[in-house]
């Protein structure tokens, strides 16, 4: 349990953000919007009528106990759930106002616009350079000089450039756990996405690497909309502007992080945050 004082210190620095974000904010400040989203794994209903508006260039944290549907929700945003057999969804998921589940949407292009970082880092068994260049390459980028630029820029943004600039041709599997996860972030950034979805990116890392990833997220939110699933409430409190609390497939509460953690509306939220369950 964190003390209110330490929490306040962290959130104070965020007061520079100009826009007030509320539940009913629509239009140009919203990146993702879901309307009555229900999701089914075969016959099991995993998400019940989730309606949420995720704003641009802010960090939104999804918290909740294990199995509450937050990872499932994250994966509906870039249609990664379609890779699993027998899943279906009803309701709408809008990216910049456009329903991503329409048949005319090319899911490959969608996934290029939305970067994803998984819980367990999965570097490809190739060189560091080839890992980061993979996204642009499969999209059709052929120019070697351009690829070099992209790789350098992405690794710098992911705070990994200094450590690997002499080792670009070495295998990515030789990096440490924290470095591999930052490599995965660089890989996602290389596609120049608008959005970064992160599914518990630091849960498999030690505290020092976790701190670096959190710093990184703080830097990245200037340019990207970030949605992060986390089990660690302190982490949510540290890095996010807004927090959504999920429980058993339902969105219980959504609002500014500071308010959720100091003065939640629903009792369930308060119980979870203070550690009474989950």
């Amino acid at each position: 349990m964190m003390t209110l004082k330490s929490f306040d210190n962290f959130v104070e620095s965020d007061k520079t953000s100009t826009s007030e974000v509320s539940q009913t904010d629509v239009g140009t400040r919203t990146k993702f919007e879901t309307r009555n989203l229900c999701f089914y794994y075969s016959s099991t209903k995993a998400l019940h009528d989730v309606s949420i508006q995720i704003p641009k260039k802010k960090v939104t944290a999804l918290i909740g106990p294990s199995g509450c549907g937050k990872s499932t929700f994250l994966r509906t945003l870039n249609r990664m759930n379609e890779l699993i057999e027998g899943t279906r969804q009803t309701g709408e998921v809008l990216l910049d106002g456009v329903d991503v589940y329409q048949s005319r949407i090319d899911v490959v292009l969608l996934r290029k616009r939305i970067g994803m970082v998984f819980q367990k880092s999965t570097p490809f068994p190739k060189s560091v350079f080839d890992n980061v260049a993979y996204g642009p390459r499969v999209a059709g980028e052929r120019s070697k000089s351009h690829l070099k630029e992209i790789v350098e820029e992405s690794l710098k943004k992911a705070a990994l450039w200094e450590e690997v600039k002499d080792r670009l041709k070495d295998s990515a599997m030789a990096l440490s756990g924290g470095q591999q996860q930052r490599l995965c972030i660089a890989r996602a950034i290389a596609n120049s996405p608008d959005v970064l979805l992160m599914d518990e990116p630091a849960s498999a890392l030690d505290p020092a690497s976790t701190a670096r990833i959190e710093d990184l997220i703080f830097q990245l939110k200037k340019n990207y909309t970030i949605v992060i699933v986390t089990h660690n409430m302190q982490q949510a409190a540290r890095v996010s502007n807004l927090t959504a609390f999920f429980f058993e497939g339902e969105l219980i509460e959504f609002g500014k992080t500071k308010e959720i953690f100091t003065n939640p509306d629903k009792k369930q939220t308060e119980d979870y945050i203070t550690g009474r369950f989950g």
Partner: protein
Amino acid sequence: MKKTERDFSTHLKKRHFAGRIFKSICCASTWTGIVVLVVLLVAVLWKAWGWLDWDYLSHYDSRHPENAGILAGFWGSFWLAILTTLFTVPIGVGAAVYLEEFAPNSRLTRFIQVNIANLAGVPSIVYGILGLTFFVRMFDLFQGDQDKEIEIFLILTSVKIPLPLGRTLVAGALTLSLLILPVVIVAAQEALKAVPSSLQNASLALGATRWQTVKHHIIPSAAPGILTGIILSISRAIGETAPLVMIGALTYVAFSPGDIESPVQLVTNPQGIAKAPFDTFTAMPLQIYNWVSRPKEEYRHVAAAGIVLMLVFLLAMNATAIFLRHHFKKKLQL
């Protein structure tokens, strides 16, 4: 209290005893297999002693056992191995990739899967009959006095394909391909299944298409398993005799396919390479079988020498499979 203690300890003795019996049975089974194998090997080596020399490798069959050699059989098996690999690999790996990665999970797909597994169990002579009708005689569609042929012009030479194929190496290789295709497909599928889904997810999440993911990640990752499956299947195909008998491979042969008699000629004689696949042939197992059936006692030694040669080949192929697998595994893990 005392009674239960005593009961418990006798049960313990019985359990240990049962364990020891079981272990001895397993040990005996293992040793039986090894001993039988060793006895066979020693018997063959004994018979072949003094008969396997350079003359044996460089001469054709003869009516005099002292002069008999395996040259024709060697080249026949060589061409069969190459051609069979050429036919099996694209079809087998392609089918496995399609079934595993692209086919929808429908009843038709499941039906196909079940039947491929069943085809692996069909006796090889059935494939021989199939090959005879389909490849050698081509349903007798091409009848008549004149044998038709298709001519394809390449840079150094031209390739003449006879129709019907007749008792050629190509027909034999196609038949053997059919024989080992089910096994290759199943082995390749298993290798593809073993690729972790996290790798696929990472690739797809970066905006790669399904085919790009398969080409860049899944196939390279499954390559060791696929390669092993292919090599082991080919080494099985080389040992098959029944299908070759059915399609009418010759048994007394005093020439090499395409007249290529030494490895040097592979490079110097492009016309020979173009002609070889469409030549009649024999193969090592066939030649050995033929020698064993001859009345003269000395031919048993000649046959034994052939067996030793075949064993050396199979050992070399299996060793290659193990080496390649080890090499690729190391490459992928670091």
